[in-house]
Symmetry: C2
Subunit: 327 residues, 2 copies
Amino acid sequence: MTAGAFRGRRVLVTGGAGFLGSSMAHHLSAEGAQVTVIDAMVKDTGANPFNLEGLKADIHRKDLRDREAIGPLVKGQDFVFHFAGQVSHSDSMRDPFQDLGANAEASLALLEACRRGCPEARILFSATRQQYGRPRYLPLDEAHPQEAVDINGIHKRAAEDYHLLYHRVYGMRCTSLRLTNTYGPRQLLAHPRQGFVPWFVRLAMEGKPLQLFGGGEQRRDFSYVDDVLEAFLRTALNDATLGEAYNVGGERPYSLNEFVRVLFEVVGGGTSTVVPFPPEKKSIDIGDAYCTADKLARAVGWAPKVPLKEGLERTVAFYRKHLERYT
Amino acid sequence: MTAGAFRGRRVLVTGGAGFLGSSMAHHLSAEGAQVTVIDAMVKDTGANPFNLEGLKADIHRKDLRDREAIGPLVKGQDFVFHFAGQVSHSDSMRDPFQDLGANAEASLALLEACRRGCPEARILFSATRQQYGRPRYLPLDEAHPQEAVDINGIHKRAAEDYHLLYHRVYGMRCTSLRLTNTYGPRQLLAHPRQGFVPWFVRLAMEGKPLQLFGGGEQRRDFSYVDDVLEAFLRTALNDATLGEAYNVGGERPYSLNEFVRVLFEVVGGGTSTVVPFPPEKKSIDIGDAYCTADKLARAVGWAPKVPLKEGLERTVAFYRKHLERYT
């Protein structure tokens, strides 16, 4: 992806035992970076000890809000990839204080630690398309108003705002990337509360019927993990992106019905049923939602490379070997 | 203002020992409402025991995050006026965690308590013009992007978002009012970190020179406390405003130089000097910033009634009697 640029560099990955964090840590370690991983290993969030197997990194089980522990770990870092957080929309409604702590307070604590310990570090934050809320127009671009429809969106927005503010006020070298539905190896499949993609992958692999809320014609875009990593790495090496936020979008929108057809093709069959929206889901559902990544394409020349079918093939191949580690 | 409408109604005022909160509590108590006041009495935030003198209300010194204490206090309330919070922009940069707790977490805790104890209550949140950040156009209307230039703006925005979200998701009866530079009796004059208006009033009354950063031509609008109270009361009685946010703007913009001239007229003289911006202030300054309140005018027929000179006369008359209680 970014051959050699990270060799010998000091890189901190927060949430490094989770889906994207561990994928980044493995990639950078293989590229020869000196990787430090911080993860609080909170149950159900995606943190998974199996994601760390075979990883050459300095690994710390710590909460980012633990100032005494985090201070020394950020010191002297060249890059900080901040993936730690609570990602479930429904969990954020059930326990908004946990979400506040994991997304807002933890991000603020990380930035305060970096301001003291590595003020020159390049810092990348993983934000979310959910910050936009119900789309007023499509595709979503970065100028779209941010009117979150759940607590998670409010707190991810606040966390992104901290990063952009710390750039403007303190000159810190932060950029935010807003992710859409990401998928791939190393993602938790244990429950349906972290987005429907990993859950559907699991059900299809286990031959269980998939439930589509509404009619299944809602359209979404999807990002395969390798494309997401490349977006982060290219952005991290490009100083024209400092203080900005960018969408990391998928190749094109798919309806859920289309998505399920591709998934069934990859898995070799399956059944789905259309059911009415459960009320607690309906209240935070956003209908059609997909992004344009044109701004990022212009800034760093990034575009998604892995089509949905190929991404799902690689994903299913991974879980055929390791399903029991993620359920 | 709203003759009789609150008589016998149960009203909770958070931040009820502060500037706006205590003004509201006195007004509603005089109107015959059953007033409960909650205030954490945090030093330097504006809470002042003197503001509670002569108030007929049920007064509790509690932090909104103290769930066990707050639960019983919200039970059965008809109206909740939520003024509690940390209002200093510079303090929010010095201690962002304190601001997170006082503005975001405390608001979330209040809403969660209300969801359980008074889900039908009419809830009004005091938001701030600062949420908009540096104006892209003037006057600021409610559709202006919210790009806060300090931690306080990020957290006030999050707190407002909670209120609007709890309306959409849970049907709670919330409205947010975004205040501009408010002034009047009962405001803390002890330090310059809660906006320049009370600080300038104090310096002028003490015959000390006023420092104007930059050239003094920055334009702002101002709201006298009675106008602000009327905006809250009218909005509280109008269900067409549920789930919406409104600017509470001043009569017209004044340059700081104009403001100072009016103040000196009222006080009977004074001196001011123009000095360069201190760097830590410059980084979070927003230049010209004033609001239109047309949306609120259309919704509830509100408009500011007290011109700046008259408001300052009433303010100065109050502090001529009570200055030592507020410094």
